[in-house]
């Protein structure tokens, strides 16, 4: 192992090689992303390493998603501590963030909590209105050969065993029309997203074996507009 480590340390990675993980995560700027794409197209060894990185990327997401969430105890402890905080004087600073902070400091935690809840409700209502407008205008803006404009994008999944699901990241240049066509082809619907750029897709209610689902994921992963597809709960 020591010898291997020494050998590894002697090899200096190239700039492009070091950017590969960020390319897999989709967090490079346009210029660097283009440089990486070009290098991948002309260097098979680099492409091989990129395939390994995508595997690591998918497993890291999987691992972190499996960690669960904290109990309600943490939140109770936090808000009890905030309730116990002494009242603060507003800042005399003229900068905007200090002004906002001062405003919030003047509110009691409970008032702030109610305000936040009202704000969240307003956002939900706004999302509903935007969603309704988009659905109403859908036929004019996003019509494709495979999309029936009279049908919603979601499907009835109310019967049978839990349908298979996947976390999918679409390529940055994927168009809505392409995504709609892909959903149609795979008989899938988006049930959650985009958290961290990933969408949760649910496939039709036909029961799939483990192998069938793995094959489906491989096929999905091979789609031009899909940069990552992994199984999800």
């Amino acid at each position: 192992m020591m010898a291997t480590s020494k050998k590894i340390l002697e090899q200096e990675p190239s700039e492009i090689e070091m950017l590969l993980p960020w390319h897999a995560a989709g967090t490079l700027n346009t210029r660097d992303a283009r440089r990486v794409e070009e290098a991948l197209a002309r260097d098979p060894e680099l492409a091989k390493q990129y395939a390994v990185i995508r595997e690591e990327y998918a497993e890291t997401i999987d691992l972190n998603e499996s960690l669960g969430a904290p109990s309600a105890r943490a939140m109770q402890k936090l808000f009890a501590a905030i309730d116990g905080e002494p009242a603060r004087k507003p800042s005399a600073s003229f900068n905007i963030s200090a002004g906002i902070s001062g405003f919030f400091a003047r509110l009691s935690p409970r008032t702030l909590a109610w305000s936040a809840s009202l704000g969240a409700l307003a956002l939900l209502l706004q999302a509903g209105v935007i969603g309704a407008v988009l659905m109403k205008n859908q036929n004019a803006a996003f019509q494709t050969a495979s999309l029936s404009t009279n049908e919603p994008l979601t499907r009835d999944l109310s019967v049978g065993a839990p349908p298979p699901r996947a976390l999918v990241r679409f390529a940055p240049d994927a168009r809505i029309a392409d995504i709609t066509a892909l959903l149609d082809t795979y008989q899938a619907s988006i049930i959650d997203g985009a958290k961290g750029g990933m969408f949760r897709l649910q496939f039709n209610n036909r029961a799939l074996s483990k192998d069938e689902f793995a094959g489906l994921l491989r096929k999905l992963q091979g789609e031009k507009i899909v940069s990552l597809a992994v199984a999800a709960q």
Partner: protein, 163 residues
Amino acid sequence: MQVLYGRHHVRVFRFGLRLVRDEQVAEDLISEVFLDVWRQAGKFEGRSAVSTWLLAITRFKALSALRRRKDVELDDEAANAIEDTSDDPEVTAQKKDTGVALRKCLTALSQEIVDLVYYHEKSVEEVAEIVGIPENTVKTRLFYARKKLAELLKAAGVERGWP
């Protein structure tokens, strides 16, 4: 604060948990992190994303907690533990599944940069801000973390064709 907490607490918890490897400690961490946010809201100047600011505070608090807790496993010990289990037939069978082995090794590796880049989707600049190191160091550190991961996998009997 409830909205901020609702939006970020799970990721803060998971990042903290990967660092301290103890659910109880990780839960205490998130209370401390958000209490700090409550106290220091005026210091946030909006030059970075809120999540980047939160993860930087979480990292600082996790490292402080680790310094207080002396019985935490070291990375090398975790790596040895992987090799030690290789005689177990059940584990050997599991290792044939690259995904399982990879996840085990990622757990053992516990490199914060791997999580920050892959799971928290932080750019080079954001990782540099969170960890407090130059951007070039971020790139080389992730590269060698990945090399280390490859070594762990090799020790676990998994060859991936790189390096």
